[in-house]
């Protein structure tokens, strides 16, 4: 992770299972992410964001091009990235047969950490996220917000170098989403992690990220902007500009003045 993330000439083409028709999910992606950076990716539903994340997480390989993290490919060197990448998904994806505590220790078990350290680490993170009274509860006994907090604890407990949030706050109600998003960002900043957030909510991307990458459909980099360079009024214009780019699937005019 010392050299950050390098995405170069990335392309992904699927064959539809039923028809065998080729579908381009990622047209062409080229960008870099520095270590410790918080980057948001915005794009319309079905633009290939999740496919990109799958490649980043290491769940699938690209058709062409390369994606390297610290000089190694996450899909090629599977074991190398054990404990180094954590993902928080749109749905919490807690294992229903495990208690909250056991869900958080899952990644630590896979890492081979000693059981007493697993428990201490999981308890610390659950306590930090306000779930200390629910260690023995099953996911089915928790609210959506609590479950997503448990998923955050599972991701942070690994102490990964790269955190990925895939529409992780989108399905929660506004109040809960804002609270959990704030917790996520505080933790990312406090722990000096690299974070990539994928969202279709422009407001969220502008609010949280140091850099926003705007994806067209199929996935290609239409533009990238730094929200911190914009005043509050400028951010409103920026939001409208991003919305227009996504609607038109191209950049029709230069970005607004900061």
């Amino acid at each position: 992770m010392n050299d950050g993330i390098l995405v170069e000439g990335l392309r992904k083409v699927y064959r539809q299972k039923g028809t065998g028709v080729a579908v381009v999910a990622i047209e062409q992606l080229d960008f870099r992410v520095r270590r410790g950076e918080i980057v948001a990716i915005v794009g319309k539903t079905g633009c290939g964001k999740s496919t990109f994340l799958n490649i980043l997480i290491g769940l699938e390989a690209p058709t062409e091009g390369r994606l390297e993290i610290g000089g190694k490919t996450p899909y090629g060197e599977f074991a190398h990235f054990r404990g180094k990448i954590s993902a928080v998904f749109q749905q919490d994806r807690l294992l229903p047969w495990r208690t909250v505590l056991q869900n958080v220790t899952l990644g630590l078990e896979i890492l081979g950490m000693a059981p007493d350290r697993q428990q201490a680490t999981a308890e610390r993170w659950l306590s930090r996220l306000g779930l200390e009274r629910f260690l023995g509860a099953f996911p089915g006994e928790l609210s959506g917000g609590m479950r997503q907090r448990a998923a955050l604890a599972r991701a942070f407990a690994l102490n990964p170098e790269l955190l990925i949030a895939d529409e992780a706050f989108g399905h929660l109600d506004e109040v809960t989403a804002v609270a959990i998003r704030q917790e996520f960002l505080q933790l990312v900043r406090a722990e000096e992690k690299t974070a990539i957030l994928v969202t279709h909510q422009i407001e969220e991307a502008i609010a949280v990220a140091g850099r926003v990458l705007i994806f067209g459909r199929p996935a290609s980099l239409l533009a990238e902007v730094r929200p911190d360079d914009f005043s509050p009024q400028g951010r409103q214009r920026l939001r409208e500009w991003i919305q227009q780019a996504l609607n038109e699937n191209r950049i029709v005019e230069p970005p607004p003045a900061a």
Binding site: N54, I57, G58, L59, F78, A79, F81, R82, G83, I85, S86, A87, F89, Q91, R93, L95, P96, W97, R98, L106, G107, E109, I110, F138, G140, L158
Partner: protein, 261 residues
Amino acid sequence: MSDPAIRVRSGAVEAVDAVRGGRLPKEALVSLAAFVVLWHLASMMFPPFMAPSWGRIWQSLVGLRWDFVPITVGRVLLALVISFGLGVLAAAAMYHWEAVERYCLPTVKLLMAVPVLCWIMFAVLWFKVREMRIAFILVVVCAPIFLVDLLDAMRGVSKELRDMVHSLRPTPKQFFAKLILPAILPAILTSWKINLSLSIRVVTMAELVGATSGIGYGLHIANELFSVADVFAWTLVLVLILMATQVAVTRIERRVLVWRD
């Protein structure tokens, strides 16, 4: 006056609670009592070789070769353990390597279409050792059922959970132990219930023709002696064994699947 829908629901909940509490619901007790009374009436109307009295059946029960019971139960359990092991291994292989499934599953499904009676005949022709015959019949009937049930359950584990666990980069063994196995546990227990019920019936048939011990053999002797009371007594024993095993699996289910409540 209470809502009929609520009454129906509370009745169902009551029945489930009763079964969960280890008690029989009153409807089951009424039905059993009715059967006992009807059989008693039949025994008064028909000759003993057709419908023996409860007293005669009790005498048969007391005089049964009870040492046959653990023999039959032992055969069933041993064969089920072997079948389960084979079923899990084959399902895991098919889940892991699609080619194995493509080549082997059609044959397995073909074997499942073979009637039990044919397997019994093959076993008698192929094996000299009686225990081998019975074990073969049970395994060849039960293992494919375990295999198909477990493979279906493995394929049913959601992609979301598989991706989440994969993102943590487990070894294949960890992936199986931490996700697949616990995820298919409900299906494993259901498959055990189905196979217990099936194997009790199959073992009886296998022992009927291919053994000199066991409940099936006991039934064979009772049949030779034209003793309906003995046949009835053995049938009662079989039903009780089946119910006991089902209760045992249900209790295990309640214990290990507590998260589903």
